[in-house]
């Protein structure tokens, strides 16, 4: 039995598990599908007003940096798990790696390749500033060479010989004692609720859109005309606590309130309204925050079902439960607080690993109240792939999964 663990998924939970195990002296293979680790939360923003609101997004760059430099962690990007054999203590994991035309271990992000790339827009571009590894990426649909044409400009000018178009997909066998699945989540696709107008009306956004907007720009502007919004609405429980998804996503009330406060902090004249069913205000550090929110944010009980765009403004139709009648109110911007849903490709990994999916589509645990062990001994779950969680809970869960894996590793001694 060798003392190593495979962590599938390089989001906040996977990274946390990897760090815990590596700090205890075990080798970790961090297998990440995308070209960079960090997961969803890496594109989120700090939501502090004059003080921190405990969203914990700032912990992600901190942990990413630690993973990047850790001698015991091998980061395998552009990689997925294609097969599994063996049993706890003696797994053989088959990893399939997409051809990495730009080798992350050789790229120094000098940018010379992007300067010489002849296409417009460029087929080679710089990575997102939070990306780790910080390595340039090729857009395969735009690259002339990958579309069969003759072009070697980037390869020829790369000062570290980091580009090679002859690379093939690679298969690798990893011998590990335990596996942690930390593949994360997808946000609810707001297009599924057509009546709310997402992707039809430019000023209807999701919570995820807001995270990215603030991360990139630092402020909120109307997508339609770039102006500052004067009236903003948040609609809770979009894709949660409904017919098909009978669970609470746990993150939406908090993020909506944090954004609401942030928007008001940046412009105290903006009116903010939150439409809700049950406000989730429990959690460490949140009670005090909620009290402050009550002063300047309007809370309306009753979730709207229809949004119409009339003369540039968004008209929201909702049932004002307190008054007992249907009302209409107009806003410049409506944010749909979309929830956490399981990844649609979970079934594939479940099949490969032999683990089960639960009722809601998240990976299932062996028994209730054991949130880490799957039906297969030696395979553990970390993070939102097991069920909705916020960032602090995802981190805690990542540690818990590492602790579970430790149980297997300890038996080796």
């Amino acid at each position: 039995m060798n003392k190593s663990v495979a962590v599938i998924g390089g989001g906040i939970s996977g990274i946390t598990s990897a760090l815990e195990l590596a700090n205890s002296g075990f080798r970790v293979y961090l297998i990440e599908r995308e070209a960079a680790i960090g997961g969803q939360a890496a594109s989120f923003c700090c939501k502090a007003t004059e003080i921190c609101t405990k969203c914990s997004v700032c912990l992600i760059p901190q942990k990413l940096n630690k993973v990047a430099v850790h001698s015991k962690i091998s980061i395998l990007t552009d990689s997925t798990v294609a097969g599994l054999s063996g049993k706890a203590g003696y797994f053989e994991v088959e990893v399939l790696r997409k051809p990495q035309y730009i080798a992350p271990e050789r790229c120094v992000a000098c940018g010379i390749c992007a300067r010489v790339c002849p296409t417009e827009p460029k087929a080679i571009r710089s990575p997102s500033p939070d990306a780790i590894p910080y390595c340039y990426v090729i857009d395969e649909s735009r690259c002339l060479r990958l579309r069969g044409e003759k072009c070697n400009l980037c390869r020829g000018t790369c000062p570290t010989n980091g580009i090679d178009f002859d690379r093939e997909p690679e298969r690798k066998e990893l011998s590990v004692s335990a596996i942690i699945v930390a593949t994360g989540f997808e946000v609810f696709n707001a297009r599924e609720m057509g009546s709310l107008g997402y992707s039809r009306y430019p000023n209807v956004l999701t919570g995820l859109d807001l995270e990215r907007m603030f991360n990139r720009w630092g402020f909120l502007r109307l997508p339609s005309n770039g102006k500052e919004p004067r009236k903003v609405a948040f609609i809770q429980c979009v894709g949660s606590r409904d017919e098909t998804r009978g669970y609470c996503s746990q993150v939406c009330c908090k993020y909506a309130m944090r954004f609401a406060r942030l928007i008001k902090y940046q412009n105290p004249n903006t009116e903010v309204t939150i439409f809700y069913i049950d406000l989730q205000t429990a959690g460490k550090g949140f009670a005090e925050f909620y009290e402050e929110c009550r002063g300047n944010i309007q809370f309306i009980r009753g979730v709207p079902v229809e949004i119409l765009e009339t003369s540039g403004e968004l008209e929201v139709r909702f049932e004002n439960i307190l008054e007992g009648k249907v009302e209409r109110e107009t806003f410049d911007l409506v944010t749909l607080s979309v929830g956490i849903t399981p990844r649609k490709d979970s079934w594939n990994l479940a099949r490969v690993l032999g683990i089960n999916l639960g009722d809601h589509g998240f990976f299932d645990t062996k028994e209730p109240f054991n949130s880490i062990e799957t039906n297969v001994e030696g395979i553990f779950l970390a993070g939102t792939c097991q069920g909705p969680k916020d960032i602090p809970d995802s981190i805690a869960h990542g540690v818990a999964a590492a602790e579970g894996a430790m149980g297997v590793l300890e038996k080796c001694k």
Partner: protein
């Protein structure tokens, strides 16, 4: 006091501001080349004597940049820095320098825009004189 050039010295905490500055560079956001960043483990490490020395050696403005209030890894580092800056401001006033030439900035590691914005604000302040 040698104030012939208009340098801005930014003491940046390694957990937040230094990374925000790196991010600004990665995003190729432009700012003037009179900014000198000094990396510190925590804003709370910055002492009044460091700030005064900066002014002595050609700084027209000093920024102390740390984590958001309540998010300091060392709990009180950023709040202590803020207190210290008030005292530094008092000393500057005594020697005839506008106390607003030293400023505490709180930000998170992803806030490249705020980093740039604060530098621009300080530049404006310096130009006013």
């Amino acid at each position: 006091m040698n104030v012939d050039n208009n340098k801005i010295v930014a003491f940046c905490c390694a957990n937040s501001a230094y990374q925000a500055a790196d991010k600004a560079g990665k995003m190729r956001l432009c700012y003037p080349d009179n900014v000198r960043i000094i990396r510190v483990p925590c804003a709370g490490r910055v002492d009044v004597v460091h700030i005064l020395k900066a002014f002595e050696k050609g700084a027209a403005g000093v920024l102390v940049m740390g984590c958001q209030e309540g998010a300091c890894q060392h709990l009180t580092g950023n709040t202590r820095a803020k207190e210290r800056l008030k005292y530094a401001g008092d000393l500057l006033k005594e020697v005839g320098i506008d106390r607003e030439r030293v400023k505490m900035v709180n930000l998170a590691p992803d806030m490249a825009q705020k980093f740039i914005c604060e530098i621009e604000v300080m530049m404006e302040k310096i130009k006013e004189a």
